[in-house]
Subunit: 200 residues, 2 copies
C-alpha cells in the first residue's frame, strides 16, 4: 500500500525534533507490524485548502502509479482560518474552505480510497475559534461525499503536552509528544485500522 | 533553514521501518541540536534523473518561499541504471544521466545553495556496476558546475548491515541500520556541517 498524506505544516510535522510528525508515527507503527507500507508526506507549511486544491493531484499522481494500491489522506484547514498578511481578512473564508474541501475530496474519492483528518489548532484564540467551527463543518461535508472523517482539534487543544510544546516552540507547532497524541488517536480509529488491516 | 531533499526511493527512505530514512536522521540530528530546520522529503520510488528533471522545480518552488533560507539536496541515479520493463535497455543511458544531472544542478545552483549525494546500490551486480560508474562520473560533473558532491555508493555496497537488511527486505532497500550508515556519512561531511553550522 502506498499512501500520500496531503496537507499543511501539521501533516509535515513541523516542530517535531524527531522529524516524524504524526504521519511518520502512524506509518512506522504499521511497518513495525510487518506490513509493506510506503508513506509519502506532502504537507507544506502555510498551505491553505486553496493551495492544496491547486497542487495535490499533480503531486499524488507522480507517487501513486496505478499498479500499486494507492490511498489518500488529507488534513488541512488551520491556515484557511488565519488572517492574511494585512491582518484584515481570513486567508480563505469558511464558505470557500468548504467548497475547496468538497472539490478536493470528491475528486480524490473518485480516484482512490480517501480519508480526511480534521484541522489542528494554531494556538491563537480567535483563529482557533474559526478552526473549531471549520472542523465541525467538515464532518457533514465528508459524510455527504462519502469520505470517512476524524476530528482531532479538541484532542490537541485540550492536551497539556500539545499546548506546552507549542508554547515552548514557535507558539503553533508541537514537538514529539503533541504529534504522538494525534498519531495515537488516528491509530485507534476503526476506519484507519480497517484500511491497513486489509491486504497491503 | 528549509531544505528540499529531492530524489529516488533511497531519499524517500523506502524499506525503513522507522519511517526516517537517511533524510529524517540527518534532519533530526540537526533539530536535536536546537536548530530550526524544516526538511521536505521529495524522494519518489522508481524516479530516474529524467523524472526528477521534470518535477523538481515545481515541487521545490511551492516549499521554499523566497523569504526563507531555502536549500536543495539531490540524490538520484540508481534507477537510471536499471533495465526497462522489457529488460533490454537501461532506463536512462549514462550520457543522458549526465546531461540530466548537469541541467538539474546548474538550474538548482543558480537559484539556491545546492548539494548532491551520490546514487546508492540496488543489490544487482550488473546494475550496480553501472551505478558505480555513474557515481564516479558525477564527481567531476558536480565540480564543474560548482555543486559539492559526496559519494556514498561504496559505503553502502561494502556495508554488511546494508546488504543483509536489503536481502531481508525487497532485495534493494535497507532498513533502519542501512539508512543510519548513510546518514552518518553525510553528518560527518564537512560541507554539510558548514551548511547547517551557519545561522539557520
Amino acid at each position: 500500500m502506498r499512501i500520500c498524506f496531503i496537507g499543511d505544516s501539521f501533516v509535515h510535522g513541523t516542530g517535531d525534533d524527531t522529524c516524524l510528525g504524526w504521519v511518520g508515527r502512524v506509518g512506522a507503527a504499521i511497518r513495525q507490524q510487518g506490513r509493506d507500507l510506503t508513506c509519502y508526506n506532502l504537507g507544506i507549511r502555510r498551505d491553505t485548502s486553496a493551495d492544496i486544491q491547486q497542487r495535490w493531484r499533480r503531486e499524488a499522481l507522480l507517487r501513486l502509479p496505478p499498479e500499486h494500491d494507492g490511498r489518500l489522506v488529507f488534513s488541512f484547514g488551520a491556515n484557511d482560518c488565519c488572517l492574511d498578511d494585512a491582518g484584515r481578512n481570513v486567508r480563505v473564508s469558511h464558505a470557500e474552505s468548504i467548497l475547496n474541501a468538497r472539490d478536493i475530496l470528491t475528486t480524490a474519492r473518485a480516484w482512490l480510497p480517501t480519508l480526511m483528518v480534521g484541522p489542528l489548532p494554531v494556538g491563537d484564540r480567535d483563529v482557533d475559534t474559526r478552526v473549531a467551527v471549520l472542523s465541525a463543518a467538515l464532518a457533514p461535508l465528508c459524510a455527504s461525499v462519502g469520505v470517512p472523517y476524524i476530528e482531532v482539534f479538541h484532542v490537541a487543544a485540550a492536551s497539556a503536552a500539545w499546548t506546552s510544546e507549542a508554547a515552548a516552540g514557535d507558539g503553533t507547532h508541537p514537538n514529539a509528544q503533541g504529534y504522538a497524541i494525534v498519531s495515537e488517536v488516528i491509530q485507534r480509529w476503526p476506519t484507519w485500522q480497517a484500511w491497513y488491516g486489509s491486504p497491503v
